[in-house]
Symmetry: C2
Subunit: 379 residues, 2 copies
């Protein structure tokens, strides 16, 4: 594996000084890119695309070939883990992910077991190592998983939901069953993420997409608690090539693997999320970046948080919103880190040139912001 | 109109002492009640039910005949106002509300005008006065409207949405058009609510159902600003019958008409919502009631916030969750008010006996809580 040429993203997560604010976009390899749609068409289906390591690698790199993004993220689905548990993941046309065998009763809960990632999730690890090779050290590769609670939502509902009636009914009526599902999921997610690190992932992200659907109190118990269990069990260091001044590999060294937790709709709980032991806290667009920095910035880097719909506006308007976000966060001083991102996945309807405007603006303004900050502090 | 026999709800909103914590439930007249479904079947459709003042009155009173709730809420739809603007409201089977003529371009925006509520919304006012008569002073009647932004979402999207792409695209690309829509809506909502007060509504609620979809910054500008405009224009007092000790009507007196603002997903902005001039702030279940009280309790009453899915649990579990919510809020002391409610509308799948357990528990525990509080403070 090649040494890293651009470590801005990792430095920001470690809250070390950076020359500019790094940026990547959730779902950056996706349907807004024509080249993605072409590869997906060749794969035949979304699941085939996830399960074919060469095609998964191809789409992972597509946005990096278009835009100077500061991180790559493994192309995969958050439901690979429950699929590996044997629940039968499938995609109904126009309806999103579904499971053939949702987990609804005592017997189904008892039968759940954490899968061996080397076995049924081997295709993901193959994708990770293929992508690492293809990246050639351009930017770090992020591995990821759904949070134990978010996986449980899909497992119990059997698909998406707008009221989470099945999973919350179980939570309130049979908390014992819910706890057992979350214990299995916490182990499965930890094993899955550790296997990704082993295969080459240089940072990890836990998507707690449905944590924000929970009530205060239930969130801490049923979403955050299991996330903490996952983080406690993670391999937080890995060996990376050590290079000399000429770029020649002369050995290996231990490096940290930072972990980001993103609870969509979790703005009220940032302090508690930051206390899970993660390195970065993802925030959605309802959060004021300056306030997030004041609340948890000394403890964790902040990742986020432009409304993806800003990318529907004209380039000048996008630049204006990017500037506002950077100004709201303020200049990252020593011990403070910001990774620019959207507050949620990019929309399939985004014009690709909008991303060009955004990435350029974030890089240019954040360099300018640091220059101004430096000249102000040298007065 | 009869004098009020139970003013606990209004007292709590005025942050005056109450013997117990009043409770009502968003969407309390709804599909979880067999008698509601029977009336709706007679009406033929949901819209017919809204537009027939006798049937609207009948369903408004149904939950009060079953449960000792402390307020009634006008049975209507939040989209009556844009319907009166001529957008052509209809309900597609299983798809929720839709508009035949969504507001998507400059010409459609320019053509918008605030309707005269006495004219095209007369059926709502007729329902309000019919319900007031039928209530006979049992409990106060709440009138309501969607917020200007929430109405704009439906008007521009032409129906429900999960990404608000159309309305947010307009907001970010053409803020001038969005501002014009919101100005019309603010005037329309103020006129509509004032007409409801005139017809007999004793409290008002503004449902900002989609405020939480906005980014920080955009929320203040596009949702909260127009809500403040509405509140500034509201008739906040009305004449109510004055009775003597024997209950005989001896004249009239001016009474306050409290206003509640509920932004679903607005927990990060409670201070700003409380500063709109409202009397009560509705909170969803992601908010910690004790923290909400500490943040805005001295300025506004708090309304909320049980997860509606708690009602899927067994009666003992429901009582436990009600107790936890009351304990989290703490005893309402002088200058503090709490109105118990769900954090969102009740689910159509709720067993009716769950509501019995909840209402009884809230009334009994909150009386007990006040007794304990009183004995503790008399030590």
């Amino acid at each position: 594996m090649s040494p890293l040429k651009n470590d801005t993203f990792l430095r920001a997560l470690r809250r070390e000084p950076t020359d500019y604010t790094p940026i990547w976009l959730m779902r950056q390899a996706g349907r807004y890119l024509p080249e993605y749609n072409a590869t997906r068409a060749r794969a035949g289906s979304f699941l085939n695309l996830c399960k074919n390591h060469e095609l998964a690698c191809e789409v992972t790199l597509q946005p990096l070939d278009r835009y100077p993004l500061d991180a790559a993220i493994l192309f995969s689905d958050i439901l690979t883990v429950p699929d590996a548990m044997g629940l039968g993941l499938y995609f109904a046309e126009g309806e999103g992910p579904k499971f053939e065998r949702p987990v609804r009763d005592e017997a189904a809960v008892a039968a759940l077991a954490s899968p061996d990632p080397a076995d049924s999730l081997g295709y993901v690890m193959k994708a990770v190592s293929t992508i690492r090779g293809a990246l050639g050290g351009r930017v770090p590769l992020i591995g990821f998983s759904g949070s134990p609670w978010t996986l449980a939502c899909y497992m119990v509902e059997g698909g998406g939901s707008d009221d989470f009636r099945q999973v919350k009914s179980m939570l309130y009526r049979r908390p014992d069953l819910m706890k057992r599902i979350l214990e299995v999921n916490a182990q499965a997610v930890a094993d899955y993420l550790n296997a990704q690190v082993e295969a080459g992932a240089q940072a990890l992200m836990i998507f707690d997409s449905w944590g924000g659907a929970l009530a205060d109190g239930a969130f801490q118990k049923f979403s955050l608690g299991p996330i903490r269990q996952v983080i406690d069990r993670l391999q937080r260091e890995r060996d990376e090539p050590e290079v000399d001044a000429s770029g020649r590999v002369v050995g290996t060294r231990r490096v940290q693997v930072p972990v980001i937790v993103f609870t969509k709709g979790g703005g009220l709980w940032l302090e508690e999320i930051a206390a899970t032991g993660c390195d970065g806290v993802g925030v959605d667009w309802t959060v004021n970046l300056g306030q997030a920095r004041a609340r948890v910035g000394a403890r964790c880097a902040i990742q986020g948080n432009l409304d993806p719909m800003v990318l529907m506006a004209a380039p000048d308007q996008i630049r204006g919103e990017a500037l506002k976000a950077l100004e709201s966060f303020g200049v990252p001083q020593a011990g403070i880190g910001h990774v620019f991102n959207l507050g949620h996945g990019i929309s399939q309807f985004t014009p690709p040139e909008s991303v060009t405007a955004l990435v350029e603006a974030v890089h240019a303004y954040s360099r300018e912001q640091r220059r101004r900050g430096a000249s102000a502090s040298s007065l």
